[in-house]
Structure formats: C-alpha cells, structure tokens
C-alpha cells in the first residue's frame, strides 16, 4: 500500500514538474535563457544519468561518453536532414551518400541503437580492462571515433569535419513546447533507466560495483553484465547526443572532445555517484550556473560610478570552476550521495519494503 502511495506521489511530482517547465516556456517565451537552461539541462541530465549508470551504479570508470554522444548525434542528423537540403549541407560531397530521410522519432531510436552497437563492439575488448586502464581505453576510443567521423574518406556520410545542420531541431518539432518535448523524451529515458536500476539486473550492477569478486562468486557473469551496462548506457548517451544535436541546431564532431566527458563526469560526481536524482539536479544547476546565472560576470558592470573590478570575458568560467572546486573539496559525496530524492525522509534501505517472508 505504502509503496503504491509513494509511486503515485512521485508521478504527481513529476507531472507538476513537467507542468511548471511547460509554464516557464509559455510565460518566458522559447527564446528566454530560462528555457534554454531547461532544454540543455534536461539533455545533460539524460547524459549524466547514462554515465552514472556506468560509473556510479556498475562501478565501471568509463570516459567514453562523448564518443557515444557523437555517434548518436551524427546518426540522428545524417538520417533526418531533409532531402532538399542535402545538396547544400554536403556541399563538398555532392549531396552525400545517404539519399533518404526518416522521421525524428525513428531517428532518435536509431541514434541510441547505433551508439549501442558501437559500445557492444568496443566493449568486447576494453571491458576486460580494470579501473583506470578502462578509463583511458574508453577515452581513447572516444577520440578514435571522433577522428573517424572527421575523416574526409567518409565525408559523404558524415560531412567530414564540416558542420551538419537543417535537421529537425527541438524548436521545429514541437514549436512553443520545446521544453515539454525535451522533458518527455528525457523523462521517459530516465524512467527506463530507473526501472532497470531497481530491477534484479540493477542489483547485479551494484553488486559488481561493490565487490567484483564476490559478485562473480554469486554467479553474476561479470563480462555479460558489464557489457550490458555499457551498451545500455551508450544507448541512452546516443539518444542524449541526438537531443543535444536537436538542441544546438548544428553539429560538428569537433565539439565532442574529452573535455565534454569531463564536464559530464563532474556533473555526475557533483550530483552524487549512484544517485539518479542527484545527476538530474546537478545537470540543471551546472547548466544554469554556467550558462545563465553567472553570465553577468563576463561583462563590465558599473554600480553607480564604481567599476566593478575583475569582470571581463572569461571571469564567469573562473568563478564557476572555483565553485566546482569548493563542491568537490567540501561536499565529497555530492548533492545526494548515493541516495535518491524520494528516499531522503526514509531510513537507508527501507525502500526495499520488507515483505512478509
């Protein structure tokens, strides 16, 4: 009974949240900074949660997220650029190889699927590595993917190192309801990840994180489960990448560098390793602070006749990184630790609902 009540309450809370987000767009307008933050924050939330699934829940230290986002973003863009625009976009490649266009929903799924296939192939060799070696190998693969996408030889597919644009973006799929659309897609994906984490497979992931040897001794096939976590994480990273492309309106492989992965890792850790709601919260805070709240630090400001010192382009990011350092040093467990928002009131572990045996 109590469990059902909690479920209903959570769903109501989510619905209220969605409504508020929708309201922000209606009152502030699609072009407002608030809406931008909500869009990008939501996209990053999905990507951060997908990374948390690996780093926080399965204990795999992977730094390949940017690579899988890249794959997803490119898959989406390449499949959805309207035929009429292909000649212009692929101006150096005679319109490119792909001579068909599919809808944005199948393309989103394809983005996840292609990223997942890449992950499955990459996972075969690298998931046998441990700890930091896994991290550096996945980072390496992300860089390799980027190099391949930029390679002139497959330019007719990826447009080489040039910009891709004119594919359907957030703003022309549901004009005026961009935030709602983003929240729906992201919410659905995160919901699925939550269901997975709280299933018997999710418990196996956590077991691997806590103690590989013991997990294996309990009959959990390490490679199989790691591969599963890796592929699923990449699937959602791919969708996240596609959403990022939809948010940006244009796409270039060059922006998917390792620094992007670091940024997401920072979000995950600030939110709390092993906390989905932490990742979501941290994403919105991170994006809002870096894109919006601190932006005034970048331009000169006069208060009366007083010229506020230090304010100049770039100061925003300095302040922002100091804030991050403070969080990292003084709030080691992040905002949420490994708990979830909805567990805050209850005692640790009570969520598993002791049933009569």
């Amino acid at each position: 009974m109590k469990k059902n009540l909690r479920l209903i309450l959570s769903l109501v809370a989510v619905a209220v949240l969605f409504f508020l987000a929708w309201l922000v767009e209606k009152t502030e307008g699609t072009q407002s900074m608030a809406v931008t933050v909500l869009q990008k924050g939501a996209v990053y939330a999905l990507i951060a949660v997908s990374m948390n699934l690996l780093n926080g829940f399965t204990g795999l230290f992977s730094l390949g997220q940017a690579g899988f986002m890249l794959v997803g973003a490119y898959t989406y863009a390449v499949l959805t650029i309207p035929m009429a625009k292909r000649a212009a976009v692929y101006q150096y490649y005679d319109g490119g190889w792909v001579q068909f266009t599919i809808g944005f929903l199948p393309a989103l799924l394809a983005a996840g699927a292609v990223a997942a296939v890449f992950a499955a192939l990459i996972g075969l060799p690298v998931l046998r590595l441990k700890g930091d070696y896994l991290a550096i190998a996945t980072l390496g693969f992300a860089e390799i993917i980027r190099a391949i996408v930029q390679w002139d030889g497959i330019g007719p597919l990826t447009n080489g190192s040039n910009l891709l644009k004119t594919y359907p973006t957030l703003k022309n799929i549901m004009p005026g309801n961009t935030v709602l659309f983003t929240f729906l897609v992201v919410g659905l994906c995160i919901g699925l990840i939550l269901l997975l984490i709280n299933s018997t497979y999710g418990r196996a992931f956590k077991a691997i994180r806590d103690d590989e040897t013991a997990a294996e001794a309990m009959g959990i096939n390490l490679f199989h489960h790691k591969q599963m976590a890796f592929v699923i994480s990449s699937f959602f990273a791919g969708i996240g990448g596609a959403l990022l492309a939809m948010y940006q309106g244009s796409l270039q492989a060059n922006s998917f560098k390792s620094s992007m992965t670091y940024e997401i890792l920072l979000i995950v850790v600030i939110g709390g390793l092993g906390s989905v709601s932490g990742s979501v919260l941290a994403s919105f805070l991170f994006i809002a602070a870096s894109e919006w709240w601190l932006r005034f630090l970048d331009s000169e400001m006069l208060i009366g006749d007083f010229q506020v010192p230090l304010l100049a382009p770039g100061f925003r990011m300095v302040v922002f990184s100091v804030v991050i350092m403070v969080v990292v040093l003084f709030f080691r467990k992040g905002i949420m630790g490994d708990r979830e928002l909805w567990e805050l009131g209850s005692r640790r572990g009570a969520k598993e609902g002791r049933k009569k045996a």
């Binding site: 070696y133 390496g140 860089e143 390799i144 390792s258 390793l273 080691r332």
Partner: protein
C-alpha cells in the same frame, strides 16, 4: 623514401622526448597516489605562459630558472590545496578534484590571457635552425632527446640512490606501511609533485620552442598523450614512460608521413588499447594479482 621520412622521424623523436618529460610527472604521481593527475597538462601550459610573460620583461637567462620555480610552486600548491585534503577520500574523489583543477586552471588562463594565442619567445641556443641531410629543423629538435635522456637518467639515479628516492619507492609499493615506518608521506608526495612540475616546465620550454603559440588549452592534448605514454610504458616506471613517449611521438609522426594526418591522434590511442589488451599493465608495468 628516407628523405621524406627523415623530417617526420626527427619531429617524432623530438616530440617524443617532450612527451617523456611530461609523462614523468604522470607516472610518478600515479605510482604514489594512484591518481591520474588530469591537471598536469595544464601545469605544462601554465609553464608556457610563465615564460611568455617573464621573457617580456626579463632576460631569458633569468626567466628560465624563474619559470621552473613558478611551475614547481604551482604544482606544489595544486597538490596541497586540491589533493592533500582528499588523502583519505575514495580515489574517484581525488580524480574528480584533478579534473576540477584542470578546468579551473584552463579557465583561469583563459581569463588572464584574454583567450588569445601568445607568441612564445625564442630561447637562445634552441630556436636556431640546423640542416640535417635533406631536412631543416630547429636545434631544439636535436637537443631534446639528449636532454630528455640526461634528465631521465638523473631522475632514475635520484630514485634509486637517494634517501628521498627510497622513500618514494617505499610509498609507491605500500602507502600505509611506509607511513607506519615513519616516512613523511606528505613531504614525499610534495617532492613527487615538485619533480613532476619541474620536468613539465623543462618539457614546456622545449615544446613551445618548436610550437610557438601558447593557448590556454594547448596542454590538453600533449598532456593526454603523455599520460597515454606513461600507461603504455607501464605506469609507475620512469624508463617505461620515456620509451612509451618516444614510441608514441615517432609513430604519430610516421602516421602523418603516411598521409593519415586525421588519424595521428587516434592512432596513439589505438596503439595504447592494443598494448593494454595484450599487456594489461603496459610494456614495463608490474603484474598485479588481486588478493581474495
């Protein structure tokens, strides 16, 4: 054939030597703290900026030691402020702190320098050009490998034959036991960062003499590659780091010679992954077994 490859080979050996000097910092720190010091590449960049600004007002002879001093001070401070408080925290926390420091240093340099590339001053004796067979190159290209080998040998001697070196080795084998044996962990770690930063400073002088534009993010790639080199050679092993760096430097330039420029960075990582699959702890790394 040889004539076309020679300049690439020279560039490879030279850049390999420079990677080696950066890689030493990674490998020493990793050996002791098991920490990928993501900020190391940015310390390398900072050394570049120090020289840019110092040489603008001071003679080069004075700037060089000052740059090393400032870089060492920076490395030392980073360790004290960002890593020391996390000594007992999980490894992931320190790693994140390193990423945070890297982020902060890049943004700080971006802010202070205005985000534009700065011209690195010419260093006397290194910036001149020489003719080697059919290839023209800067003196630094030739000097780098010798200087690198000399420094690495000196460092290995230091580690093998001095008291502080012995302490470093002890700490890297077993952190807790070394502490119980009365080794002052914090000073050993500081020494490690000092050595690593000094090497990075020298590396930056060699590197930027060749590649004269210093930007806030320029250190990221060489840093990453130096780390790859350290892993490649077997992290914790100084000769391993040097050999790894040379292999990476040479192979990435040979890839360019073959006309696959777009893949020169990617190839480095591909090489690393292949090596890790066959030797999971790198070329010269020690094999570890989990205790159950």
């Amino acid at each position: 054939m040889f004539n076309t490859i020679l300049p690439y080979l020279l560039a490879g050996i030279s850049v390999g030597g420079q990677y080696a000097l950066i890689a030493v910092g990674y490998t020493l720190v990793y050996g002791i703290l098991r920490l990928i010091n993501f900020a190391h590449g940015d310390i390398f960049t900072a050394a570049g900026f120090f020289m840019v600004y110092l040489a603008a007002s001071l003679p080069v002879g004075l700037s060089i030691p000052l740059v090393i001093l400032l870089t060492v001070a920076l490395g030392f401070t980073v360790e004290r402020v960002a890593y020391k408080p996390l000594r007992t925290a999980p490894r992931m926390s320190i790693m994140i702190s390193a990423i945070g420091v890297s982020y902060l240093l890049q943004n700080l340099m971006w802010y202070l320098t205005g985000g534009l590339a700065k011209q690195y001053p010419g260093l006397p004796g290194l910036s001149g050009t020489v003719q080697i067979g059919p290839a023209t190159t800067k003196i630094v290209t030739i000097a780098t490998p010798f200087l690198t080998i000399a420094l690495v040998v000196a460092l290995v001697m230091l580690i093998n034959h001095t008291k502080v070196g012995m302490a470093m080795r002890a700490v890297s084998v077993d952190f807790e036991t070394a502490q119980l044996m009365g080794i002052k962990i914090n000073s050993v770690i500081s020494v490690t960062f000092v050595i690593g930063s000094a090497m990075a400073a020298i590396g930056s002088m060699l590197y930027f003499t060749n590649y004269t534009a210093v930007t806030p993010t320029i250190g990221a790639m060489p840093g990453l590659k130096a780390f790859v080199a350290a892993v490649f050679g077997g992290i914790g092993s100084i000769p391993g780091a040097m050999i790894g760096a040379l292999i990476i430097g040479i192979s990435e330039n040979l890839i360019k010679a073959a006309g696959w420029t777009a893949f020169s960075d990617a190839f480095t990582f591909a090489l690393l992954i292949v090596v890790l699959l066959f030797r999971p702890t790198g070329l010269f790394g020690e094999k570890t077994t989990d205790k159950v």
